[in-house]
Symmetry: C2
Subunit: 410 residues, 2 copies
């Protein structure tokens, strides 16, 4: 592993010498190669699908795993879109002249070697490889075991393109030892690896965070809330609450708990129940909610659960301060929303809530790179530092200071 | 410890409600209180000095430890300067409107609770407390054992000012258990602590980095190089080399190794030797250097040593590529300089070298917050992510996205 990572690290220096147009040309060749090799990719995928059947994977997992020509084409399109992104390296982020006459430029640079640990979907292999290549980072990929044949085949296609362009295959690497022990080694190799991005279940993320000596950008749970304030437009509130819960319940930016101002609970809760019943949402509520509408009981464990399903907790709270108190206790710092027409109430919520994305009068479902206009998404970070919230390709860069002098000494 | 940190965390919410002018008023009161209590501080310090004598601390350490009225006044002045800094929280870092009509603002916010582990100098206690307070962060301070009485007395003065302003004393906390075991607990409390900044010896930094689950901003070694290129102005080169080595050899941005282009080694090395001999610098050199001037032998271990003393390695390298190769191998990513009048050579060095600060025609000694114009310095980060290089008060902030909608759903 160490020798492998040393190679990856030294390969990363080649990337600094490539111009943006050279990188984009290689990316377009990668997209083309995926399309041209789609029958090879499909037969590799067929092996994974067969193993999946033997191992009795759920139909949802099997669907994530599956590749056909149109999904392979979508992977190619994603790479072409990444090629079309603005050059992320070499941006001048800040610049000034010091009292000593030094001209300082703060410039974006690649992070270096990035380890990415992810689950079954094979398109993550090509997306991530392309995002890292565009941002001049070396990626070390550790995909899900279920997708091993597919991931190997995809990586091979991309590596062949690298080689045809006289670039080291190590720029896009699969981890040589994909066992738990291999991962445990990877996350401690801070001499060679600059960042680890674990995308997957809570167990994986916890394990990586607790054991890594390399910096970690987590993609952790989204315990998202929507608070309906006394000064909300009720039709807005219902529309947004429904959207935040039911449009795609299985994702991290979906709402798990709806908070309703006690001042309007009596008139609002029946309307909300009607709307959610029409969407077949399973409702749970606090005692005060249960006094007004017929729902199951919600306890503290429920308020702490990311359902990732069409299930919703409802809690009556004492105004915006009550909402803030609940979110401080149960929120995971992902996405939180207030529905109100009152500017002071909105600002106090926006300022008090410490989350990556805090919304006024909009659905928490907007927390992603695409909706934010970032073009491509590395993921949604629940870190507090480096990258927070939707993480575009800029999240794969850091910076250095270039300082131009004319003989200055201290 | 857990209960203590829980208090610190919840105290941090108060800070979000203070305006900039309220914070600055409290800071000015803190400065005043330090001056007014200077005799108390001096008698606390006298106990540390006495213990230091008993424990036979070096005179350098004793000097770092010592407080008198003028040093206490300097601490007060530093706090007043921090009060004068631009408000670091609430800056709009970026802003745009999405295709869906959402108005997104990326806004700077405090990090939360910051643990700072440092060595003997007591002024770090007041500097750090003031920087954290100004940036609306709670600090948990772990100072050197040698300065325990002084640190307690300083913290008490600052905490009394907090209390007089009806603010929780926990905003400026000393770690309750300052043993190694206490530190080991602190660095794993990611539920309550958002960042750890270890300032101190290599052993401490390594221990914290390897064992923390909290994010760490390291202030690690500076293995800094200056490369004199064939196209350098020689008088510039000598002046800068001398400054980088001898002006203050004991600091992290001082040069440890001088690289000289083989094309000009024969004429330049004797001039360099003359200049360094006048400064009583102990010189070591590679074989090629030894063939030209009379110096001791420098081996790979020397090239890897941060002397923090008036000792210098000299190596003859094969042009800018040779210099880059040496720095890639031995550099610590802190500060690196090239002396050249050739713009292409300068740019290739600036682009290839991955260090926090890369200089053309200036001394590496400029890598600090003051010289960069940041006003106050938290330290010099050798992290690659979050904060890199000189870390001003902005390094104590992170960001969130505030999103203003008008009923948008997906």
């Amino acid at each position: 592993m160490e020798q492998f990572l040393e190679e990856a690290k030294s390969a990363s220096r080649v990337l600094n010498t490539l111009s943006g147009s050279e990188k984009n040309r290689v990316l377009k060749e990668m997209a083309k190669a995926l399309r041209e090799n789609s029958s090879d990719l499909e037969s590799a995928n067929a092996k994974d699908m067969e193993d999946g059947k033997k191992n009795k994977l759920t139909s949802a997992l099997m669907d994530r795993l599956f590749l056909d020509e149109s999904r392979i084409d979508a992977m190619a399109v994603a790479i072409e879109e990444i090629a079309g992104l603005k050059e992320p390296v070499g941006r001048v982020l800040d610049g000034w002249v010091t009292e000593d006459g030094l001209k300082i430029e703060k410039v974006s640079i690649p992070i270096g070697v990035i380890g990415i640990i992810y689950e079954s979907r094979p398109n993550v292999t090509s997306d991530t490889a392309a995002l890292c290549f565009k941002s001049a980072n070396v990626c070390v990929l550790k995909g899900g075991k279920e997708a091993e044949h597919s991931n190997r085949a995809i990586a091979k296609v991309l590596q062949d393109v690298l080689e045809a362009n006289e670039l080291p295959r190590a720029l896009i690497s699969l981890i040589p030892d994909s066992s738990r022990a291999g991962v445990d080694k990877l996350i401690k190799m801070d001499k060679y690896v600059d960042l680890i991005i674990p995308r997957g279940g809570a167990g994986l993320i916890k394990h990586v965070s607790e054991n890594a000596t390399v910096s970690v950008v987590k993609h952790d749970k989204g315990q998202c809330h929507t608070y309906i304030d006394r000064d909300a437009k009720i039709e807005n509130a219902i529309k947004i609450a429904i959207n935040a819960k039911v449009q795609r319940p299985g994702v991290c930016n979906a709402m798990e708990t709806l908070l309703v101002d006690s001042a309007i609970a009596k008139e609002t809760l029946p309307k909300l129940k009607l709307a959610f019943d029409a969407e077949h949402t399973e409702l749970k509520g606090c005692k005060n909610t249960q006094a007004l509408i017929d729902v199951a009981d919600a306890n503290d464990a429920d308020f702490d659960t990311e359902y990732l399903a069409n299930i919703l907790n409802i809690k009556v709270v004492d105004g915006v301060l009550g909402a803030i108190e609940h979110i401080v206790r149960f929120g995971s710092g992902h996405s939180e929303a207030i529905i109100t027409e009152n500017i002071s109430t909105a600002e106090s919520f926006l300022n008090a809530i410490d989350a990556a994305a805090v919304y006024v009068n909009a659905s928490t479902r907007f927390t992603d790179g695409g909706a934010f206009g970032f073009g491509a998404e590395v993921g949604i970070s629940t870190n507090k530092l480096h990258a927070r919230g939707p993480m575009g390709i800029e999240g794969l860069t850091t910076y250095k200071f270039k300082i131009y002098g004319s003989g200055q000494t201290r």
